[in-house]
Amino acid sequence: MRLGVTCKSLTASAVAGFCALQIPSALAAEEPAIAVDWWMIAVPALLLLVIQYVVLSRKHKRQLNELNVQLEAATSQISAMVPKENLEQQRIASVQEIETVRTSLQEAEAQAFSAQSELTQQLADTRTGLEQQLSQIQQSYEGTCGQLDNQMAGVAQAVEELLAVTNTIERWHEGMTDIMKHNKDMQKQIGDFQNIVGQIGILSLNAAIEAARAGEHGRGFAVVADEVRKLSMNAQSLNEDYRFHLNKNAMIATLAFQDIQAGGKMIITAIQNVKSQITMAHSTLSSRAS
């Protein structure tokens, strides 16, 4: 349409140009003065005509180019279009493919169902086996608990009997107390003996003095007095040794007695700890068994 409009414009311009050239020629033949005025009008008209022609031809060219481009695009589209027979072939191939996939899916579904059945059966078998094992373990546990319970009772009984060791320790305590008492009595007697020996020594000294006063008649007596003095000194020395050993004996007896006493308390404490541990263990076993 645009091309038609352009052609019409060109044609109208060409006619106008022709008339512009022809009219001054006709007028120049009849009226020369009017012919000069017509050239003054015709020249600009011709110029205008030329300009219009150039513009229009350029426009025409551009439109032609656009049309060519559109024609090429349409041609390429047509060449890309799949022919009818190819479409049909592809449709048939797709249908076959779909059918193949459907068949595979059905087979897979059948296999999955079969596997599920097998697993279910295996689970049931495993569960049955585990239940049986659990039952066996429970029976064994209850049996063991019962045995432990009996043994605990036996140990508790033995511990109670052990605690009767306190009676033995009391008996030792009484015996050691007697020893300590006798030791003290002996130490007191040593003190008394010390005094007696000391007095004998003094008496023997006095006797020696009196014997010396008696002169010749007292010589025999002086010898006796001297011997008595020596004996008293020996007795005193012996007394000192005896006192030393008696003191040592007191310490040995004290330490032995105290070791028995303290050791006995320690053993009783240890036994009572064991007893409380047994009671706790027994309680724990009983609560678990129930």
């Binding site: 003191n247 004290t254 330490l255 105290q258 308390k265 700890n273």
Partner: protein, 196 residues
């Protein structure tokens, strides 16, 4: 090993000081308690002693409270118990001293029990200091001796010794004691011996 040995000696001595000061504090003793270390059990120059024993499966500990049961001691006890000296007889005063020694040894046992349970403690026995010739009687692995330097009527009143005999080859360990304990009540009356 020597470092451990001297540390044990130091901890034993410190244990005696803390135990004695705690015991006197519990019996309402108001004065300060200062101590001097002694080297041997027969250096105290006191007439009597009270002996106790603490026994374990692994060791035996001999605890000795040194004192002189004389007029000064009688006056000290009378002042502490707020009684008149002439109103009490020697048997009651002796009972008070035995109870005090029992309390003292109880503090020692409580400290030892931190590292060496179980332990048993004996009742106290009153002896002459002449009995403290221990050569050949006990085999001592560790010992410590302290004497109070605070004078009462001119002379110190108490001293304390501890001697440890080991029953197996294991090392004897003892923690450093804490400060003086203010726990527990006093024993101002002449009551029965408390069993630890």
């Amino acid at each position: 090993m020597s470092g451990d040995f001297s540390q044990v000696q130091e901890n034993l001595a410190r244990m005696l000081e803390v135990a004695l000061e705690t015991t006197l504090t519990e019996s309402s003793h108001q004065g300060e308690c200062n101590f001097r270390r002694e080297q041997a059990v027969n250096e105290f120059e006191m007439e009597h002693c009270i002996v106790l024993t603490i026994s374990s499966f692994r060791f035996r500990v001999m605890v000795i409270l040194h004192l002189s049961f004389d007029d000064r001691m009688r006056q000290f006890i009378a002042d502490l118990t707020d009684t008149k000296k002439q109103e009490t007889d020697d048997e009651k005063l002796l009972d008070w001293l035995l109870e005090m020694s029992n309390s003292f040894c109880g503090h020692v046992k409580r400290h030892l029990q931190d590292t060496c349970p179980p332990l048993g403690m004996s009742t106290p026995n009153f002896l002459d200091s002449a009995c403290l010739s221990l050569d050949g009687v006990v085999e001592v692995a560790h010992q410590a001796h302290v004497k109070m330097t605070d004078a009462y009527g001119g002379e110190p009143l108490f001293g304390a010794s501890v001697l440890v005999s080991l029953l197996d080859d294991a090392d004897f360990k003892i923690n450093a004691p804490q400060a003086v304990s203010q726990e527990g009540g006093g024993f101002e009356s002449f009551g029965e011996l408390e069993m630890f």
